[in-house]
């Protein structure tokens, strides 16, 4: 038993080092002056130290506005996705109605469409109503991506029918059953969907690039890209890495905060499904 634990722990540590190493390297480059990186980019220890790569970005007046835009779009996109998509998923998983199978297949089909193919029709649609350069143009298409429906439906299917039937006998409406009983039971699944959605929304690049073309409407991803000169990876590698850190750090922190909801502690099992 003990040796097994030792082997497992060693393996985990080794893999963790492998996983973290590139990120560590990224941070090292982020605090190294660009000039030194032009000559040598393999150093695992900083060849020099500077905060200018970060400072240069944060000094730009609009950075705060870009962050704000990303935050608004991400919060709205994630909230709407969680509510709308899990409700639809519940109907698909737990309710009987005509055309359910067809509608569900239609929803799944949406996952299999390369977004590069729909990009232009979607773009033109918003252009026709002068809808670009708005938050709605940035978060609404996100809510239409049916990944959450598919994930939540699969998890809802695992909830025994006895739970919903019991609630019905007690006189609860489907909405109340859903919000008061089903959702609290599904925290880990909801947390996953929430995490994926906010990360994918935040890191979306091509769509905000073509839709939010006014400087004030840039998201943090397009805003940071706008600073980039040609051949940036040769001339301003440290700045590029620093911008990557800046864009990713909020997501990382959010993950740290929310990841505990992925796990159900043993003490919670009494409030669980059994």
């Amino acid at each position: 038993m003990k040796t097994k634990n030792l082997i497992v722990t060693t393996l985990l540590i080794l893999l963790a080092v492998v996983w973290i190493l590139p990120l560590y390297w990224m941070i090292v480059m982020a605090i190294t002056p660009n000039d030194l990186l032009k000559l040598n980019s393999t150093a695992l220890w900083p060849q020099g130290f500077t905060l200018q790569n970060f400072w240069g970005v944060l000094q730009i007046g609009l950075t705060v506005r870009w962050f704000l835009n990303s935050i608004i779009v991400t919060i709205l996109g994630t909230a709407l996705t969680l509510v709308l998509q899990s409700m639809a998923a519940y109907a698909f998983a737990k309710m009987r109605f005509k055309g359910r199978q067809l509608l569900f297949s239609l929803t799944l089909a949406g996952l299999m469409v390369p977004k590069e193919a729909m990009f232009i029709p979607l773009f033109l649609m918003f252009a026709q109503i002068s809808g670009h350069n708005s938050y709605a143009a940035l978060y609404l298409p996100r809510v239409a991506i049916p990944m959450g429906v598919f994930i939540m439906a699969q998890f809802f299917r695992g909830i025994p029918d006895s739970v919903t039937e019991a609630a019905q006998i007690d006189g609860a409406s489907p909405l109340r059953t859903f919000f008061n009983i089903i959702m609290p039971m599904s925290i880990p699944a909801l947390t996953s969907v929430g995490i994926f959605t906010y990360i994918l929304t935040w890191n979306d690049f091509l769509w905000p690039l073509v839709s939010a073309t006014r400087k004030e409407m840039f998201t943090i991803t397009t805003g940071l890209a706008s600073l980039q000169g040609n051949f940036a990876q040769a001339t301003e590698l440290g700045s590029l890495m620093a911008r990557g850190v800046i864009a990713g750090l909020p997501l990382f922190i959010l993950f740290l905060i929310f990841q505990k909801h992925l796990i159900r502690g043993i003490s919670m099992s009494s409030g669980g499904k059994y």
Binding site: P22, Q154, P174, A247, K260
Partner: protein, 289 residues
């Protein structure tokens, strides 16, 4: 009669809001794209002329289409088991509370928060024989560094490695969520009977995870079929076009060569391939029941 209307109204509540958004922002553009596949559609002028199935006949004679499709399929076949297997390993080992587990989970998931441009920037450097860490390590060990991104044998593996690093956290998180729904009492009673961890894994964990594993598999396959960003930035489809995947070709055709009709046709074919694969997977899982 009365009971039927009682069922339909709540269903409307639940399904309609999402469906409205979905139809407007996903189905309608998709519908337009499918129609467009029968047209010559110029991106810059938006001019469209009907050409029937010409896009499709052209496609089937286009060697770049076939090589791109093959590269995509190759990627799916080789990366899917790896991504699911490693994700499962991590989920199984790191299920539960405790700060050590939190630390490891965070380490394996962390890459996922970064965008494709920064991930490929890092790995573009990692893989480079002169200026990357992997090259450094090889030289320290006295070996010739591998030209990961320019050697046809290693280019696809390089992309798979970078993708694994970047996205394994997704599968790990989903599988962790699935593990939460396994009744702890099952393990308690099996330990009373003296079962080993391996027997637990085989007879309790994996069967209970079936539903989540199906979910992860189908999602992983669908996402792998649509791989693009990493390939485009790391190798641009090279060396010599040997890693060009289908979405890259669709992007090049539509955005670079301005041929949206042809791009839509290829996207539709890719969609059909994915639909077929999903269909077979559903069939398989139904039979296992």
């Amino acid at each position: 009669m009365k009971s039927r209307s009682r069922i339909n109204l709540p269903v409307l509540y639940f399904v309609l809001p999402f469906m409205v958004v979905y139809v407007i922002f996903q189905i309608y553009p998709l519908f337009q794209a499918v129609i467009a596949s029968m047209f010559k559609w110029d991106l810059l002028t938006s001019s469209m002329s009907f050409i029937g199935f010409k896009n499709y006949t052209h496609m089937f004679q286009d060697p770049t289409f076939w090589s791109s499709l093959m590269n995509t399929i190759k990627f799916v076949i080789f990366s899917t088991p790896l991504l699911i297997g490693v994700g499962l390993l991590f989920a199984l080992l790191l299920n539960g509370t405790g700060s050590k587990k939190v630390l490891f989970r965070t380490a394996y998931f962390a890459p996922y928060v970064f965008s494709v441009s920064i991930v490929t920037l890092i790995w573009g450097f990692m893989f480079n024989p002169q200026k990357g860490l992997l090259g450094e390590f090889s030289r320290m060990l006295g070996a010739e560094p591998i030209n990961w991104l320019t050697d046809p044998t290693f280019a696809m593996p390089a992309i798979i490695i970078a993708t694994l690093w970047w996205t394994v956290g997704f599968n790990m998180v989903l599988l962790l969520a699935g593990l939460q729904d396994i009744d702890p009492a099952l393990y308690e009673s099996s330990s009373l009977e003296g079962a080993t961890w391996f027997q637990d894994l085989l007879y309790i964990t994996l069967p209970s995870l079936r539903r989540t594993l199906e979910l992860v598999t189908i999602l992983q396959i669908i996402m792998s079929f649509q791989i693009f960003g990493q390939v485009y930035i790391l190798t641009k489809g090279g060396p010599g076009g040997t890693t060009r995947v289908l979405i890259q070709y669709i992007y090049e055709t539509g955005f670079r060569d301005h041929q949206l009709g042809y791009a839509s046709a290829m996207a539709f074919i890719l969609f059909l391939v994915m639909a077929m694969v999903s269909f077979f997977q559903f069939r398989l899982s139904k039979e296992e029941n």
